[in-house]
């Protein structure tokens, strides 16, 4: 049931990438994305993809998780491939079928987009499969902290996100139970017009909201009872330390970026 819900697909491990600081991983991903779209050669893109695969192996997360991540972009990839292959002109004509031509530029762009998409998915998954959703949230929260100076309650927003992550599996379990309870009373969520189906959701939405508010009340009380105060300084059990290896990792990504620009890749 809710055992399946491991949010953000985090796969536990102790690999080099698992142990990198989440903030550094986020920054690195950003730089890699810049790199991804600035590379203009087969060599450059292929090398980047090979680097991604090498890193995947070091994480010891089974390859099938990464391959599964490709599935959603499969259709986009095929669509893009078709567009580029058959409708982009430039360079040498390679094939002619009736009035449709396949030209070398189109083929090049098509292959590039595939390589970019695969690398994009792999690098993103390298982040989400090796970093817990909570660490990611805190990492993002760090970068949003300057917004505190324009009045945004960033600490509290971070707490809100963390609580949301904590309760998503619980709420999913509850809504499943609720649906079964209403089905037992003859509810039908599938047949009828759009209006009828929307109306049939009321017995799901109302109790969920009522229960969510009650939970929030009880949780707030429990938090206060353990000394939580809005605006007070809090520490964290896991410090977000930046170790030399984090700088090294960031440095390497920067190095790659610079090298590719210099080498004209």
């Amino acid at each position: 049931m809710s055992r399946s819900i491991t949010l953000g697909q985090y796969f536990p491990g102790q690999s080099m990438i698992h142990c990198l600081n989440p903030r550094m991983k986020l920054l690195s991903l950003l730089l890699v994305l810049v790199l991804l779209f600035s590379l203009q050669t087969y060599l450059g893109l292929a090398t980047l993809l090979l680097i991604a695969i090498f890193l995947i192996v070091t994480t010891r997360v089974p390859m099938r998780y990464f391959l599964r991540g490709l599935r959603p972009v499969l259709y986009i990839a095929i669509f893009a491939l078709v567009i580029y292959f058959f409708f982009t002109s430039g360079g040498v004509v390679l094939l002619r079928i009736g009035f449709i031509t396949v030209e070398s530029e189109g083929v090049r762009e098509g292959i590039f987009i595939i390589l970019r998409l695969i690398s994009l998915v792999f690098f993103s998954l390298l982040l989400t499969l090796t970093t817990t959703p909570l660490s990611l949230t805190h990492g993002l929260g760090y970068f949003l902290r300057p917004l505190r100076y324009i009045g945004l309650p960033t600490e509290e927003v971070a707490m809100i996100m963390a609580i949301a992550l904590r309760f998503i599996p619980t709420l999913m379990e509850e809504s499943q139970r609720l649906m079964r309870a209403q089905l037992s009373r003859g509810a039908d969520f599938e047949t009828g017009s759009i209006f009828k189906r929307a109306k049939s959701l009321i017995p799901l939405i109302v109790p969920l909201f009522v229960s969510a508010f009650r939970r929030a009340d009880e949780l707030a009380l429990a938090m206060e009872a353990r000394g939580y105060r809005i605006g007070a300084t809090r520490t964290r059990i896991h410090e977000d330390l930046i170790a030399p290896r984090d700088w090294a990792a960031l440095g390497m990504v920067l190095g790659l970026l610079v090298a590719s620009l210099v080498l004209g890749l």
């Binding site: 817990t132 963390a162 009880e218 429990a222 009872a225 000394g227 105060r229 520490t235 059990i237 410090e239």
Partner: protein
Amino acid sequence: MIEARNLAYYYPGEEETSLPALSGINLAVRRGEYLALLGPNGSGKTTLLKLFNALLTPSEGEVWVKGISTVDEDKITEVRRYCGMIFQNPDNQLVATTVEEDIAFGLENLALPSAEIKEKVIDVASLLGLDHLLQQPPHLLSGGEKQRVAIAGVLAMQPHCILMDEPTAMLDPAGRRDVIETVGRLNREQDLAVIHVTHFPEEAVFADRVIILNQGSLVTQGPPEIVFNDLKLLHSLGLQGPAAVELAALLRKDGFDLPSQLIHCRELVNSLCSLERKS
């Protein structure tokens, strides 16, 4: 250690209209004492608990915790550190995504250094047998385990008293046993005072003192053998005594000469057997 003097409480907006939630409460809780708090629904048990850890402040009278008044806003965090609270719904008091982080929550609120927090969490987790669960997310734990995590979270703050609001109401018998044994052990070994609100008289028979509330007033208090044997009072409030007490009362009417302050099942068994041997 905790003292309530002439305590009264009205819910906001109900001062003139209805009866107070609590009135005329005078109570003292000693260090290491195990108190059971019983009473019909609406008698003010939960309200009293919340007044002890400053979640609520008195409408009349005072509450003192280790010499600190609960209306002292600067010292609220200290009061809540001294009096930790466990709630009825195991889910709705776990706030973090892993057991380890949840136990750390209170310590994080106290802004302790990270290394100290880690140490305290490990100590408390091992005391409560949670070591192997530290990385687990709360939704994968059983009810009893969740309550133990809640207890760990409170214990990490080194309280002098644990307030428990029907902590076993939503648990199965194994979970109930788990929680009651854990808290009993903490009470004995760590000299931790406990105030335990419950609907199950069986959970209260090992308490040092039993307090009964009704409609906001303290009706009676005393050792369990005395309070629970006043069945007339209990029944008038819609409460049941422990099974052994109820059965003993019926048997006494039938002419069995049983001791008057019996509360445990084995006491009843032993008394009946010795009566049989005599005859």
